[in-house]
């Protein structure tokens, strides 16, 4: 969903830089020195893993592909503030080194694929995991639902930006319908990848999943027991 240069006009692109900039500023403040020594490498590793999986476009419909956005996954793994920084690292490198997403659209892309997915992913995850209980299955199911919802919401971000700052030659209701329908399909892929990843980390090192805080003590005990043996 990387927006190239030319789709959205300069004022809306600049406004998105301002909004994303404020969000990143808050995230920088909130996350400085916020992760325990033992889990802090996850901040960088989350960025590395999401960069890799974003390269894996999967087919969703005739002639269309989609890829992981990763904001919900990042939020569940490292918490929302650090997640926004991890996503910003990925999106900035993609724009500056790989020409994936326009430079003038960097604010839009961070807003849609970083801020919106992280915030929506974290809120939905927190709500659903509370409802389902802090057990492994509940956390994995909550991860899938959060990831699924984050994708059409991210697409909605683009539609609103296009409505205000697009060329205006296309009926916005058509853009809305087309964007949401295809991104509901891509959301299924997002849900599968996110649930598999969170499930894998939970099974091996549950203490590395920020969204599984309630599970933490149990898993630490488990790991210590294994080490003693």
């Amino acid at each position: 969903m990387h927006i190239p240069d030319g789709f959205i006009n300069v004022p809306v692109s600049a406004a998105a830089v301002a909004v994303s900039g404020v969000a990143i500023g808050v995230a920088l403040k909130k996350s400085r020195g916020s992760m325990e020594q033992e889990v802090a490498p996850m901040a960088g590793l989350t960025a590395v893993f999401i960069f890799a999986v974003q390269m894996l476009n999967f087919p969703v419909a005739a002639g269309t592909s989609g890829h992981l956005l990763g904001g919900a996954l990042a939020a569940i793994l490292v918490g929302p503030w650090v997640a926004l920084l991890s996503m910003t690292v990925v999106l900035a490198l993609q724009a500056f080194i790989f020409a994936d997403g326009g430079l003038s659209a960097i604010g839009l892309n961070i807003l849609n694929m970083g801020v919106i997915t992280v915030v929506a992913g974290w809120l939905v995850f927190s709500l659903v995991s509370k409802l389902l209980g802090k057990n492994k299955r509940g956390i994995v199911v909550a991860s899938a639902i959060a990831a699924f919802i984050s994708v059409p919401l991210s697409a909605l971000g683009f539609v609103m930006e296009y409505a205000v700052g697009g060329s205006g030659i296309i009926d916005i209701s058509k853009v809305l319908g087309a964007m949401i329908s295809v991104h509901l399909l891509i959301g299924i892929g997002e849900a599968v990848i996110t649930a598999l990843t969170v499930g894998a980390v939970l099974s091996t090192r549950a203490d590395l999943v920020a969204g599984a805080k309630g599970l933490r003590e149990k898993s630490n005990l488990h790991i210590k027991n294994v080490e003693l043996k």
Binding site: M1, I3, P4, D5, G6, F7, S31, R32, G33, S34, M35, E36, Q37, A40, P41, A43, G44, L45, T46, A47, V48, F49, F51, A52, V53, M55, L56, N57, F58, P59, V60, G63, T64, S65, G66, H67, L85, S86, V89, L93, A95, F96, I97, F98, A99, D100, G102, L103, A155, G166, S167, I169, I170, K174, V175, A178, M179, V182, I186, R205
Partner: protein, 97 residues
């Protein structure tokens, strides 16, 4: 954590450097919508499209498999480098424990 770090880096390297070759090359959701609705031609070339790694291929290497693999690995290295900076920034200072 060292083993886990190495494992995630290896998995990411294999995905970006190997599995990515088999990724779908069809336009993604947004690009497809832009083509279908007719605003795709408004796309302007990125200012970084001349970059050595633009489009996840290495400029000058024609073999798509090798070019894409090296670009993917370079991306992992770059993300890992900046990610290390992020790690140092978010980690709790030792004395503050």
């Amino acid at each position: 954590m060292k083993k886990y770090t190495v494992a995630i880096l290896l998995i990411s390297g294999v995905l970006a450097g190997g599995v990515s070759y088999f990724a779908s090359s069809h336009p993604d959701g947004l690009n497809k919508v832009a083509i279908d609705l007719g605003f795709a031609e408004q796309e302007k070339e990125s200012a970084t499209s001349g970059s050595a790694l633009a489009g996840y291929q290495i400029a000058g290497i024609d073999n798509e498999l090798i070019s894409g693999a090296l670009a993917g690995i370079s991306g992992i290295a770059a993300t890992g480098l900046v990610g290390t900076g992020l790690y140092l920034y978010v980690r709790k200072p030792k004395s503050g424990a």
